[in-house]
């Protein structure tokens, strides 16, 4: 089984430096792309490979690039790696950043060349201190080796790259809010259209891609679109970095073919549930995805199958809810996070999320009323898709709406017994 993204990552030794990376074929994609391929051909290849964004939304990467205006000699354009990983329960990009920083840089150079951007940024989560040091060092190495800067490999193409570390706010992961943060403003989302591909950072055409998405680019350029599609037996192309946290025997991350089942991940890779606890549900793709339960264990973790089961692939890093953990407390914890991280820009999110948080806390503390469940149901509609400025509140409602469906009896028990049965 091929594991292109993680094949050279080994945490028992130090991260790959430029020399290590080149010795395993690193920067061949930059050479191939910049010296033998036209920018549009790369975009077409990525489109044909059917690479979808690994940050959560799952939009076609090549299609996103194709919206950038081309034949624009002399116009400033930007390419940004979204490394602001902050979805609770998500820790996959950290591995890629710490394990093989040059792979990301190479992917960024090729992506920037494809859209003819001359300035690029790594927008990094502040908490990733080790990654910050490694990326900084890797950027310096890439400049020294002539992979960044003026006239890269004699191709006439120039690219600058900067590292920006954030100062903590979940909203920065939303691409238009990230642009505001990079401009030194509050990270509130922007109206779309115009889309960032046309008017992004400082009003210039901008592409923002997730770290895992960008790390796939060198491999697609080296091996082709068909090779990428063949990595997965299912309907979605490539591999995926899946992760599991919670009370399982071996929490961790694994690069596997797109479409691996939840059961295989849980039982084979994570070693099953810890002794004395049993499985109740899983958030398949981070905090802002709907719960899936026992009957969904054989569902494939790809965009289409997870959607058909009523959730989202999201980031592909799962959080397991076990029978020793209170589902009401679990959901309260999620809504506390979303209420705190709401940027306050639009009213339903700013007012609605703290309201759901308070209701959930009162139920958890044994002070809930049956009509509170209807209030919560109401919020899942009012804060749902189409009623808010960005995807934060609709995402926050996903675990709540599915939680009310699957754990109704637990909610009612809290209210009837006037206490949390788990405390």
């Amino acid at each position: 089984m091929e594991r292109p993204l993680t094949q050279h990552i080994n945490f028992n030794r130090s991260s790959l430096n430029l020399k290590d990376y080149r010795s395993v074929g690193g920067y061949q994609a930059v050479e191939k792309a910049l010296t033998t391929m036209a920018p549009q051909d790369i975009t077409k290849m990525v489109q044909e490979a059917d690479l979808k964004g690994r940050g959560g939304a799952g939009f076609s990467t090549g299609t996103k690039w194709s919206f950038v205006p081309m034949n624009t000699v002399g116009q400033t354009k930007y390419l940004i790696a979204n490394a602001d990983e902050m979805e609770p329960g998500t820790f996959k990009d950290r591995m890629l950043l710490e394990g093989n920083p040059h792979q990301l840089i190479e992917g960024m150079i090729v992506a920037a060349y494809a859209i003819q951007a001359n300035i690029s940024y790594v927008f990094l989560r502040w908490a990733y201190k080790k990654a910050a040091w490694l990326i900084k060092h890797a950027i310096d190495e890439a400049y020294a080796a002539g992979y960044l800067g003026k006239n890269i490999l004699g191709s006439g193409y120039d690219l600058e790259m900067h590292l920006h570390t954030g100062i903590g706010r979940y909203m920065c992961g939303e691409e238009t809010a990230l642009l505001n943060a990079l401009e030194g403003k509050r990270a509130t989302p922007r109206t779309k259209p115009p889309f960032p591909q046309v008017s992004g950072l400082f009003g210039k055409p901008t592409i923002v891609n997730n770290v895992e998405t960008l790390c796939n680019i060198p491999h697609i350029v080296n091996h082709g679109a068909d090779w990428f599609k063949d990595l997965s037996p299912g309907s979605d192309a490539g591999t995926k970095i899946y992760g599991i946290s919670g009370r399982v025997n071996k929490p961790g991350l694994w690069e596997l073919p797109m479409g691996t089942t939840i059961r295989e991940l849980l039982e084979e890779h994570a070693g099953g549930m810890k002794k004395g606890v049993s499985f109740r549900a899983v958030l398949p793709g981070g905090a802002s995805t709907d719960f899936l339960v026992e009957e969904h264990l054989d569902v494939k973790m790809d965009y289409k199958s997870i959607s058909a089961a009523g959730s989202r692939l999201g980031t592909g890093t799962m959080i397991v809810l076990d029978d020793q953990t209170c589902p009401v407390g679990f959901i309260h914890n999620l809504e506390h996070f979303f209420a705190q991280e709401s940027c306050g820009w639009c009213t339903p999110c700013r007012e609605g999320l703290p309201w759901t948080e308070k209701i959930l806390l009162s139920i958890e503390n044994g002070e809930g009323r049956m009509e509170d469940l209807e209030l919560l149901e109401m919020h899942t509609k009012h804060l749902g898709p189409g009623n808010t400025f960005c995807a934060l509140a609709p995402g926050a409602m996903e675990p709540l709406q599915s939680g009310l469906k699957y754990f109704r009896a637990d909610f009612e028990k809290h209210i009837k017994e006037k206490k949390c049965p788990w405390r």
């Binding site: 990983e85 902050m86 979805e87 609770p88 329960g89 998500t90 820790f91 990009d93 950290r94 989560r125 502040w126 908490a127 990733y128 201190k129 900067h162 570390t165 954030g166 100062i167 903590g168 706010r169 979940y170 943060a181 990079l182 401009e183 030194g184 403003k185 509050r186 990270a187 400082f202 992760g243 599991i244 946290s245 919670g246 009370r247 929490p251 961790g252 991350l253 958030l283 905090a287 890093t317 959080i319 397991v320 809810l321 076990d322 953990t325 407390g329 679990f330 914890n333 999620l334 506390h336 996070f337 705190q340 991280e341 940027c343």
Partner: protein, 154 residues
């Protein structure tokens, strides 16, 4: 008043962006790095240097979790309170921290040794519960480990 060193570093950031204001977050980080927190006086000095109003800069400073507009202790403890750490028992770690340091979230010990803050997901969910002290991340926390870890910070 900003120090010569602060101005030099801020000007370096200004040179990288098309408008002065765009360096505001970097400027806040630089001054906080030197002074520990952002006082009203610091805020006004940075705003003047960037050519923006203090109010506008404050709207940026207060938006982000890690710009401190109040004094903090010498060491900052950030305890992850997000979902994986919830499942793996961060509440117990919090209770133990409170017992050891006699402070709650948002408070600083009277000797200014520690400030304790809750923090969203630190991205080490496979090793929950997790906390950071200053630049260091500690994983798979237990009450026993906690006591040893705290000793490292004076």
């Amino acid at each position: 008043m900003l120090s010569t060193d602060e101005i030099r570093r801020i000007d370096h950031e200004i040179a990288l962006v098309p408008v002065r204001k765009a360096a505001s977050i970097e400027a806040l980080k630089i001054v906080q790095h030197h002074r520990g927190w952002i006082s009203d006086e610091s805020l006004q000095a940075i705003a003047a240097h960037l050519g923006m109003s203090a109010e506008e800069l404050d709207s940026v400073a207060t938006f982000y979790n890690l710009i401190f507009r109040k004094p903090v202790g010498r060491n900052i403890i950030l305890l992850c309170d997000s979902i994986s750490c919830y499942v793996m028992g961060y509440e117990q770690i919090y209770a133990h921290l409170q017992a050891l340091l006699h402070i709650k979230f948002g408070e600083t010990t009277p000797d200014d040794r520690f400030t304790l803050l809750p923090n969203p997901c630190l991205g080490s969910c496979d090793h929950a519960p997790v906390l950071m002290i200053n630049q260091d991340t500690y994983r798979n926390l237990t009450n026993e480990k906690l006591q040893e870890i705290l000793k490292e910070y004076k």
